[in-house]
């Protein structure tokens, strides 16, 4: 009976937020997105609320890669709204604390580096719109999101966000505030990697987003610990041709460093407790099964039916216990904003008024040339932002 109850109890609950494909496709087509973005919209509507923020994040970056700026801005605004919603999580998400639900049942909000990147990318879009004040607001919020790290000395240490906040201040005519931001930015970088300050004639900034960002992986006996590995990248560095000379665009941020320095989460502790309980339950099940089988064999050898039956009962109890153990879900949530870049590179420069395009040289990890890019420019009022996304 116990087994039957367990099996009944383990019946899966249908995802209440799942919509059928027809509805998803209709909603996606109502948005009227570019053809290449349709799969992202379909996924957004099909996978429901628990995945919505993750799918908006994916949609936003895909839209940026395809220069669909409005779609990207709209998606990032939704992401930011979700990130900023504090307070009790919805009941379904809170079940992630239960032994019998895994962490990835909760509504995705991303880890600190993902939340910070949502703000940084929104800031870049505001820069493209020449809305320097709102861009600055977003770069300030990058550091606020990063403050969820455990180690106070590592909280809010995004050199790229500081530099970009300085760029906004500089172009808003707040020179002193700009210098303070750049001082802060350089304090976070090693002497070798310090970012250049713009000269008086610099009217443009190049932001290069390179490679694939950090990937979340489960560690521990039951995958209960959240860990990271670096994403694969074909392009590790990039150079911009300025006045017939290729100039390296310095690295401002390494997302793997940001992701892996968050420290231990409260959910890591919860998942470890679940893993402990699972291990303990598995051990208890093994003990019951081994003891029960021994007792059964002893009963059979001694021709004692009662002992044999007791042994079988204990074995069955062991099997039930093992079943319970397997239903405990300690695995860490490894859903990842997989389109993020690995690194952010920044270079201010003087864009000649007669330039129609910019040339880039792409380099691999060893410094070998892995490709070239030519980016067309449509001149507008300064400051210009040139965004290069290369994998």
């Amino acid at each position: 009976m116990l087994m039957a109850c367990c099996l009944l109890g383990c019946a899966s609950t249908p995802d209440p937020t799942r919509k059928d494909i027809a509805t998803a496709e209709k909603l996606a087509s109502d948005q009227g997105p570019a053809a290449n973005l349709k799969p992202y919209y379909q996924r957004l509507y099909f996978e429901g609320e628990s995945q919505a923020t993750l799918n908006q994040m994916r949609l936003a970056f895909a839209a940026m890669e395809q220069a669909e700026w409005k779609d990207a801005g709209r998606a990032l605004d939704e992401v930011i709204r979700d990130i900023e919603a504090l307070g009790p999580a919805d009941p379904r998400s809170r079940e992630a604390l239960s032994h019998f639900e895994s962490e990835d049942i909760k509504k995705f909000k991303g880890e600190t580096h993902e939340r910070a990147m949502a703000y940084l990318l929104r800031g870049l879009l505001y820069l493209k719109e020449k809305d320097l004040q709102n861009a600055r607001a977003c770069f300030k919020s990058v550091q606020i999101q990063d403050a969820a790290k455990n180690d106070p000395s590592l909280q809010g240490n995004w050199a790229s966000a500081d530099w970009l906040e300085g760029w906004c201040n500089w172009n808003l005519g707040e020179r002193s505030a700009a210098q303070q931001c750049w001082d802060r930015s350089n304090q976070r970088l090693s002497t070798r990697n310090r970012l250049p300050r713009p000269s008086e004639t610099d009217n443009a900034v190049c932001i290069a987003l390179l490679g694939f960002g950090p990937v979340k992986i489960p560690k521990g006996d039951h995958g209960e610990l959240l860990s990271y590995r670096e994403g694969a990248s074909r392009t590790a560095r990039v150079k911009l041709k300025i006045k017939e000379v290729f100039k390296a665009i310095p690295m401002a941020e390494d997302l793997f460093v940001q992701a892996s320095s968050r420290g231990r989460r409260l959910m890591d502790q919860v998942n470890e407790e679940k893993a402990d309980v699972r291990s303990g339950t598995e051990t208890a099940g093994d003990v019951f099964i081994t003891g029960g089988m021994g007792t059964t064999i002893g009963g059979v050898v001694a021709d004692d039916t009662d002992v044999a039956v007791i042994g079988l009962g204990v074995t069955a109890a062991g099997a039930v216990t093992k079943g319970i153990a397997s239903s405990i879900k300690p695995k860490a949530d490894t859903r990842t904003w997989d389109l993020l870049p690995a690194r952010i590179h920044i270079l201010p420069f003087t864009l000649p008024t007669d330039a129609n395009s910019l040339e880039f040289q792409l380099l691999d990890e060893q410094g070998g040339r892995s490709g070239e890019r030519k980016v067309q420019i449509s001149h507008s009022a300064p400051p210009e932002i040139i965004l290069l996304i290369e994998r």
Partner: protein, 203 residues
């Protein structure tokens, strides 16, 4: 392995049976009209409608109480709007504050204040040109209204954050600037602080 890990299996069976009660389905509802001045069920840390309403209501009350808000020629004073400056950590629509203040002043000032539509100057000049060329009908030729006072403001914030949650103090300041003398004939402010903790599942 912790000791409770061994003791737990027996109680787990009971807990399991109790814990496997059917999952509460997420309730959904059709969109409803709610009071824009009250905090919604979905609250965020940024500037929300209730903040906008509280700030602008207060500023309009203060502006209407301001003595000396008059044109130097004894005519109804004319006010121009400059979008607020955003120095906070929240991206906002910078026109929404002055737009609501203007709407409230238009409603409550009983014609004692006039506004100029400087945000529509291109269209207005085009129409004036057409009138001057005689291509469209025109009444009495009049000059564009000059601005007696500019209404503008600034939004600043101080933010704190940690693994448990966030705290944001926001300061909204507004002022009326005399365009002849650069004197600030009125200034007002509103401040608020929001704190929120992150649910355990996100920490």
């Amino acid at each position: 392995m912790k000791p409770y890990s061994i003791l737990l299996p027996s109680t787990l069976v009971c807990l399991f049976l109790a814990g496997c009660a059917s999952t509460e389905t997420t309730s959904s509802s059709v969109p409803q009209y709610v009071d824009p001045g009250a905090q919604g069920t979905i609250a965020g840390m940024g500037v929300e409608s209730q903040d906008l309403i509280a700030v602008t209501d207060k500023m309009v009350r203060k502006i209407l109480e301001t003595p000396g808000l008059q044109s130097r020629k004894g005519e109804t004073p004319t006010i121009g709007l400059i979008p607020v400056e955003n120095r906070s950590r929240f991206a906002i629509d910078k026109q929404i504050f002055t737009t609501r203040i203007k709407a409230l002043l238009n409603e409550k000032a009983n014609g004692q204040i006039r506004f100029v539509a400087r945000d529509r100057m291109d269209e207005i000049k085009r129409e004036k040109d057409l009138k001057e060329k005689g291509e469209v009908t025109s009444g009495e030729r009049r000059k564009l209204l000059g601005v007696d006072y500019y209404l503008t403001g600034e939004i600043s914030s101080l933010s704190g954050s940690g693994p448990r949650g966030k705290s944001d103090y926001m300061l909204f300041t507004f002022r009326l600037i005399d365009t002849e003398t650069s004197e600030e004939i009125w200034g007002g402010f509103h401040e608020l602080k929001k704190e929120g903790t992150e649910d355990a599942v996100y920490r």
